[in-house]
C-alpha cells in the first residue's frame, strides 16, 4: 500500500530528476500543489516543462525522485495516475471530423467512464460547456471558444481530481477566455486541482501560484503578486522622450541602468532603485540633448519577471562556465 500524502495535497513532487543520457532535463524538482489550487507552470521551450508534465501524467518514468499524483506514485502506478487525471490541449485533443457528441463519446470510452454513468456525464459536460443543442455540429466548424469548452468537457468526463491544461486559451478572444476561466475556477472551488502550462502571461495571471522552470530547475515559486514584487531584479521605469532611438543608445551605457529597451512609443528601464534613479536619468538624458516627456515607475508584468529571472540565470551560468 503506497503512502498517501497528507490530506489536501493533490500533487507532491520530491527531488524529481529526469536524465536523457548525459543531459539533465529535470533537476531535483520539489513542489506541492494543494487540492483545488490552480497552479501554473511557466518556462521557455526546452526548460523541462513538458518533461515534468509527462512524468506527472505517468507517461515518462523518472530517473530518480518521487512524484505522487492523486495519491498514486507515477513510477509504480502510472495506469492509476492516468485514470485519475484529465488532459486538455485546445489545439490538439479533439477530432475535427467528428461531431460534438461523437467526440464526447469517444473520450468517455477512452477514460473508461462506466456505462451506467455515461449518459449522465455527457449531459453534464454539454451543460457545463454550454453546448446543449449543438451536439450534432462537426467539431471542425465550431468557433474557437466552443472548441475549447468542448475540449475541457472531454477532459473531465470521468470526473478526475486533477486536470492538466496546455495553453488552453491562447488565440482566443478575451471575453471567451474569461468565461473559460470562470469555468475552471468553479471546478477548482469544487476541489479539482488545475495544472496549467503556458507561455501566455495573461493566462498565468489566472493562476493561484506559479512555478518558473528554467534549465530543469525551479527558479521561482509564488503567487503572481509575490513574483512581481519580489522576484524581479530591480525596478521598472517608463520613459517617454524624443528622439527615442538616441535615448536607448545613450542609456545603455548610463550608470545604474541594468537594462534599457524600446517598448512601443516609450522606453522601459530596469534600475536598482526607481526613486533615486528618476531624477538622475532625467538629467542624464537632458545632458545628451534628449527631452523627457514622461518618466514614472511602473509595475513589472509577469513577462518582465520571467525575462529578468531567466536572463539573470543565463548570465550567471555563463559566468560560471
Amino acid at each position: 500500500m503506497p503512502e498517501r500524502p497528507e490530506q489536501g495535497t493533490s500533487v507532491a513532487v520530491e527531488n524529481l530528476v529526469k536524465r536523457f543520457g548525459g543531459f539533465v532535463a529535470v533537476d531535483r524538482l520539489n513542489l506541492e500543489v494543494r487540492k483545488g489550487e490552480v497552479f501554473g507552470f511557466l518556462g521557455p521551450n526546452g526548460a523541462g516543462k513538458s518533461t515534468t508534465i509527462r512524468m506527472l501524467c505517468g507517461l515518462l518514468k523518472p530517473t530518480s525522485g518521487r512524484a505522487l499524483v492523486a495519491g498514486y506514485d507515477v513510477a509504480r502506478e502510472p495506469e492509476a495516475v492516468r485514470q485519475n487525471i484529465g488532459y486538455m490541449s485546445q489545439k490538439f485533443s479533439l477530432y475535427n471530423d467528428l461531431k460534438v457528441i461523437e467526440n464526447l463519446r469517444l473520450f468517455a470510452g477512452l477514460y473508461s467512464v462506466p456505462s451506467n454513468k455515461l449518459k449522465e456525464r455527457i449531459e453534464w459536460a454539454l451543460q457545463m460547456a454550454n453546448l446543449k443543442g449543438q451536439e450534432n455540429l462537426i467539431t471542425g466548424t465550431l468557433p474557437g471558444g466552443w472548441k475549447q469548452r468542448l475540449a475541457l468537457g472531454c477532459a473531465v468526463l470521468h470526473n478526475p481530481p486533477i486536470i492538466f491544461l496546455d495553453e488552453p486559451t491562447s488565440g482566443v478572444d478575451p471575453i471567451t477566455r474569461r468565461q473559460f476561466w470562470d469555468l475552471i475556477h468553479k471546478m477548482a472551488e469544487e476541489g479539482v486541482t488545475v495544472f496549467v502550462t503556458t507561455h501566455y502571461m495573461e493566462e498565468a495571471e489566472y493562476c493561484n501560484r506559479l512555478a518558473l522552470i528554467f534549465h530543469g530547475k525551479m527558479v521561482a515559486l509564488g503567487t503572481p503578486a509575490e513574483l512581481k514584487r519580489g522576484s524581479m531584479n530591480g525596478e521598472l521605469l517608463l520613459i517617454e522622450c524624443e528622439p527615442l532611438g538616441n535615448a536607448v543608445e545613450a542609456l545603455q551605457s548610463a550608470p545604474d541602468v541594468m537594462d534599457a529597451a524600446v517598448f512601443g512609443n516609450a522606453l522601459h528601464l530596469v534600475v536598482p532603485d526607481a526613486a533615486s534613479a528618476m531624477p538622475r536619468i532625467e538629467k542624464y538624458l537632458a545632458d545628451n540633448g534628449i527631452a523627457v516627456g514622461r518618466i514614472e515607475r511602473i509595475r513589472p508584468s509577469l513577462e518582465d519577471v520571467f525575462v529578468s529571472l531567466t536572463t539573470a540565470r543565463d548570465l550567471g551560468e555563463e559566468g560560471k562556465a
Binding site: G144, S170, N208, N265, F306
Partner: protein
C-alpha cells in the same frame, strides 16, 4: 521616424467573405514608414486574411490597397518586389541548410551574389546565427527558425514587412529578442505590419488596430486608446480571491469583474469613488484583502469594454 508623402501601406474598404462567414468587413487603415503597426485581435478576427490580401496572394471581394506605392490588388506582382511576407507557417525548407534557404530567397528577389553575401553575413551575425550556416533548417531550434525566417524576409531590403503572428508559441525571452530586431528595422525606415493574438503585445506597437470578427474597433496609439477609456481599472489582491468575488459581484458601479489567481481585476465607472466603497464593504464582510489600487487599463480591458458594451455583438 520619417513621414513620407504616401503611407507605406494603405488599405481602404477591404472586404473578404468565405462561405458562411464575413472574414474582413470594410477594413480601412494605413501604415507609415518607420512604424510598427499591430493588427490585434483573437483568432477569427480577420488578421491573416487581411495580411494575405496585402501580400497580393488573395484577392479581396471589394476595396483597394497599396503597398510601397504599388496597387497590390490590381498589380500584385510588381508590389512583391518591395515587400516581404512571413506567414504563420513560414516557408523555411527543412531539408535545406541555412545558407541554401537564404540563397533561394535572395535569388527569387534578384539579389546579386556580392550583395547577398554581405547582407546575409550581417543579418546572421545580428541574429547570432553565424556558426549555423551549414546546418539544416530542420535541425534548428524554434527560436532560430523564426530568426532565419526573418533573415530570409530581409535579404532584399524590403520597404514593407508583413508578419503574421510571428511570436505565437514563442517564449518571452525569444519574443523580446524578436521585437528588438523589429525596432532596429523601423529605425531604418521600414514599415512593419504585424498581427498578434496576444493583446499585451499590442502595447509594443507604435499604433494598433483592434479587430473583432472582421471589423475595426479602434485604430490609434496604445496610449491614446487607453486614455479614451473613461472607466477606471482596479486591482484588488487577496489570499481568498473567490470570497472577494462573491462579496463584490453585486456592488454598484462595476462594469466587469475578472477573477485572477491572486485577486480581482475590476472595471468601475469611477475609481476614486468606488475604492473607499469597496474597502468598507470588504471590511464589513470580514473578507481579507491586501490592497485596492487603481492600475492603468490594459488593451484587454479596452477590448472587453468595447465588445461588451455592444460595439460589436459577441457570443
Amino acid at each position: 521616424m520619417t513621414d513620407q508623402v504616401q503611407p507605406a501601406i494603405e488599405a481602404e474598404g477591404l472586404t473578404k467573405s468565405f462561405p458562411g462567414v464575413r472574414a474582413v468587413d470594410a477594413l480601412s487603415f494605413d501604415v507609415r514608414s518607420g512604424e510598427i503597426f499591430g493588427l490585434v485581435g483573437p483568432d477569427g478576427a480577420g488578421k491573416t486574411t487581411t495580411l494575405r490580401m496585402l501580400a497580393g496572394i488573395m484577392p479581396p471581394d471589394a476595396g483597394r490597397a497599396t503597398v510601397a506605392g504599388f496597387d497590390v490588388i490590381r498589380n500584385p506582382e510588381r508590389a512583391k518586389h518591395a515587400l516581404s511576407y512571413m506567414p504563420q507557417r513560414f516557408g523555411l525548407y527543412e531539408d535545406l541548410t541555412v545558407d541554401e534557404n537564404i540563397r533561394f530567397y535572395a535569388d527569387l528577389f534578384g539579389v546579386r551574389k556580392p550583395e547577398r553575401e554581405a547582407r546575409s553575413a550581417q543579418l546572421l551575425q545580428a541574429a547570432g546565427m553565424s556558426e549555423f550556416r551549414k546546418r539544416l533548417a530542420g535541425k534548428l531550434s524554434g527560436g532560430m527558425k523564426q530568426k532565419l525566417g526573418l533573415v530570409c524576409a530581409l535579404i532584399h531590403r524590403p520597404k514593407v514587412i508583413l508578419l503574421d503572428e510571428p511570436t505565437t508559441g514563442v517564449d518571452p525571452v525569444s519574443r523580446r529578442d524578436f521585437w528588438r530586431i523589429l525596432y532596429e528595422l523601423v529605425a531604418q525606415g521600414v514599415a512593419i505590419l504585424t498581427s498578434t493574438a496576444y493583446l499585451d503585445e499590442a502595447e509594443r506597437c507604435h499604433r494598433v488596430a483592434l479587430l473583432d470578427e472582421g471589423r475595426l474597433l479602434f485604430c490609434d496609439t496604445p496610449a491614446n486608446l487607453k486614455a479614451r477609456m473613461s472607466k477606471g481599472v482596479l486591482s484588488v489582491t487577496s489570499p481568498e480571491p473567490r470570497r472577494l468575488r462573491s462579496e463584490l459581484e453585486h456592488a454598484d458601479g462595476i462594469s466587469s469583474l475578472v477573477l485572477t489567481g491572486d485577486g480581482l481585476h475590476v472595471v468601475v465607472d469611477d475609481a476614486t469613488r468606488r475604492i473607499p466603497e469597496f474597502e468598507a464593504r470588504l471590511k464589513n464582510a470580514s473578507v481579507p484583502f491586501d490592497a485596492i489600487q487603481q492600475v492603468a487599463p490594459s488593451i484587454e480591458d479596452l477590448f472587453v469594454d468595447a465588445v461588451g458594451t455592444g460595439a460589436s455583438p459577441h457570443a
